[in-house]
Point group: C3
Chain length 329, copies 3
């Protein structure tokens, strides 16, 4: 498979192993660009991308924006605080208006699960889901899987443990869909109040005890406790969560020495992850961040037509041409 | 007329038909750029444009920003929430400071009528009014008129009806000035509390009854009810407004089959416009949005010197030259 | 000295006269770029710069952003209101994440003194201090000194008076460090409550009386009263401050006719500076703003390797090269 047969990236659910591997292979080829002195290629020159963020974000928005700029696309940011959302416009009207401005891609983060899918069905423009409610966060899933593959090689039969608030985590869900498709052996571990009913139907094993869960694991991916999202308390105190499900020096001792520690960030140090673990050489947390930019470059490149764009990039006349009848102006 | 003889676009009031047509003709030549695979021309490369928005906006700010990027200008956004306005600096000082940074254009939206005119009189930089209080919104006026001309041809003698809150609408005012100058027959229709005293002096006809107003109309432009601006209630309830001045299936039946329906957005669906009308094939609302980017490209291009810039664009040495005495650094 | 031997610009304290002069000379060579029709050079093409502002700012952020764009760098803005700071992430984690995204420079403004120094010690990326608490604001110090040198020539033995809230002013501190190093004779003047204990150890003269302070001065630099920062009242009323330490027509009469008036902005007109003085021909306040962009261009250029980059800029193949194995995609 050398070309993507879809206009959107909405989630990893239902995506074939071949498709996921196309994303991973393309990411590998884009990763090197960010190591150059001149971190920029003309791949998406003249494309317009809107980052439409209805929830606050530093890292994901910055990661997408860097990816867009390194691909030479034109990026416009719209965030809730400065947008007409205050004027009560519907999401559909906002999106149709952006499309009428002839944009090529909308990168959307929204509190409502399914918001990106709604836009994708409505628009000709490509839609990239940058996190929708507790549903999916596919570029995070891909960057986690890419980081695993870089460190472990083929993921088939590898034991990957996802720890924490599985029920509210779009990161956990995207990881599960992708990893199960690639043949990994996925175990989820967390408090019963944070474990969705029927999660085992996704092909994962449930293990309540953290020390048993991490035994023989090849990687442990710690979900963050989303303090800002919890309306009711799902566990007695943060200290209690940390003592039962937090990863610390004690937990490390029960793991294989080469077992990787991952975290999608931002970390609550001292809650789901202790200082020692966060800063240990098991942690590949900053590698994940580096890979995030490459995954997003690959995603935008594939979504915008990938190899088909080669033609455009050599058509210099078109790139530099003046407005049709500028002479007449 | 092939060149603009003013440095600012502050309003359509007092503009000649020839000038308006220069904007419209230039818009026509720029519209095609946003349809290209590579939506970018080097027309304003190396120009600096500041979008200074003191009121929240999605569509107008995004439309200007896209126009700027497609012209290769450098765009900097300043919005109220992140600016030194919190430190109590005067508008004049903010503007003079921006000019001292050698910017070329300020695009300003401000709650105070006349704020852009004040800046324009003060600065050598060009000023584009992106909406000042209830006064003018000239690029919206131009894009509405451009959309009308694309659909109807010559506007002389055409009946254009503007419905709603005329008194508080800068969009209505810019439309009236431009359309009357181009010889259109403009009718305004709305509740007495929303009709400014003396409006007929602008050369428009007042018609209180919506069904009589839309009879024989070639286009109906629905102003939005600006719920967020109303300090006192200008009508009993939204439902009452909708039933008397809202456009719905019933109103459509009283109109000529080819009569256009326009709206500057964001729409209050169910208030000034019903779902059926908003989504009907009479509506050219998304065409307006598309034309908005082209109007803003044309405006910035003309304001920055238009055809005079051709010289600059072929002077490649200047574009790529290093700092004067970089060797010495 | 033709090259900078440090990766960061954190403050002027401890910087040698030779280093300061390197910044000033480089600024002189960059100033001309903003006067061109095409205000853009490819010096930092493909470099990524993050403007990380934890305090609101119009002028400093805009000045840096313009400098970055005129150098063709890719700039990403992160401000407190839209960032994950709301999710409780530590400054260290935010910074390490940005670095993992392979950015080249962080421009940081932070309420905590020393925040930029902390990041600089942690990161390989360059750090530019855009104001840290009441500590330093080195690019403001450099632009003030550059403006002085442009107007007065060699600063050795020149009398420069800094008036106002010395204790809370990072601008005052950066000016003092730089000016004393260059051999200027610096006098500070302000209310006792705003005068830090031991300030004379920095090599300055204290003079309580404004009229005596400005006598024989070559330049007077007025610090702003930071109304938004004061938790307790440091003087009875604004009117009293203005009458004793504000500069007005009366003060002007006690100054040499050619004495310059400076202010870092934003001005509180009528408090530390009267309308007449702000708008008089003694004031070089807008020159300071113009020089600010040039100082920031020079700073970013030097920090990113300065003359070493020449090699990169002629390596066109690298600039335009496609992703390593794009053929394989």
């Amino acid at each position: 498979m050398t070309e993507l047969d879809r206009k959107d990236l909405l989630g990893l659910e239902g995506m074939s192993a071949e498709e996921i591997e196309l994303f991973l292979d393309t990411t590998a080829s884009f990763k090197e660009i960010s190591e150059r002195t001149v971190k920029k290629v003309p791949a998406l020159r003249g494309k317009t991308i809107v980052n439409l963020f209805f929830e606050p974000s530093t890292r994901t928005r910055a990661s997408f924006e860097l990816a867009e700029k390194r691909l030479s696309a034109d990026a416009v940011n719209i965030s809730k605080s400065t947008s007409s959302v205050v004027k009560g416009e519907s999401l559909r009207d906002t999106a149709e208006n952006l499309q009428a401005m002839k944009i090529d891609v909308i990168v959307i983060r929204h509190a409502a699960s399914g918001a990106p899918h709604f836009l994708a069905s409505l628009l000709d423009a490509s839609v990239v889901n940058a996190g929708d409610g507790a549903h999916e966060h596919p570029t995070q899933g891909l960057l986690d899987i890419f980081t695993l593959r870089e460190n472990l090689g083929d993921l088939s039969g590898r034991k990957i443990v996802i720890v924490g608030d599985i029920a509210h985590s779009r990161v956990a869900r995207s990881n599960i869909f992708g990893l199960v498709t690639l043949g990994a052996d996925v175990t989820v571990c967390g408090p019963p109040t944070m474990m969705p009913v029927g999660i085992e139907k996704l092909g994962v094993t449930i293990e309540r005890n953290l020390l048993r869960a991490v035994e023989d694991a090849d990687a442990v991916n710690l979900m963050r406790i989303q303090l800002e999202r919890q309306k009711v308390s799902l566990f007695p105190t943060l200290a209690e969560y940390a003592s039962v499900y937090g990863m610390n020096r004690e937990t490390l001792r029960h793991m294989k020495p080469e077992c990787l520690v991952m975290h999608p960030g931002p970390m609550n140090r001292g809650v789901e992850i202790s200082q020692e673990v966060a800063d240990s050489d098991r942690a590949v947390i900053l590698e994940q961040v580096t890979n995030g930019v490459a995954v997003r470059m690959a995603t935008l490149y594939l979504i915008c037509g990938g190899a088909q764009r080669e033609k455009v990039l050599t058509d210099e006349e078109e790139v530099e041409a003046p407005p049709a009848n500028r002479e007449a102006v």
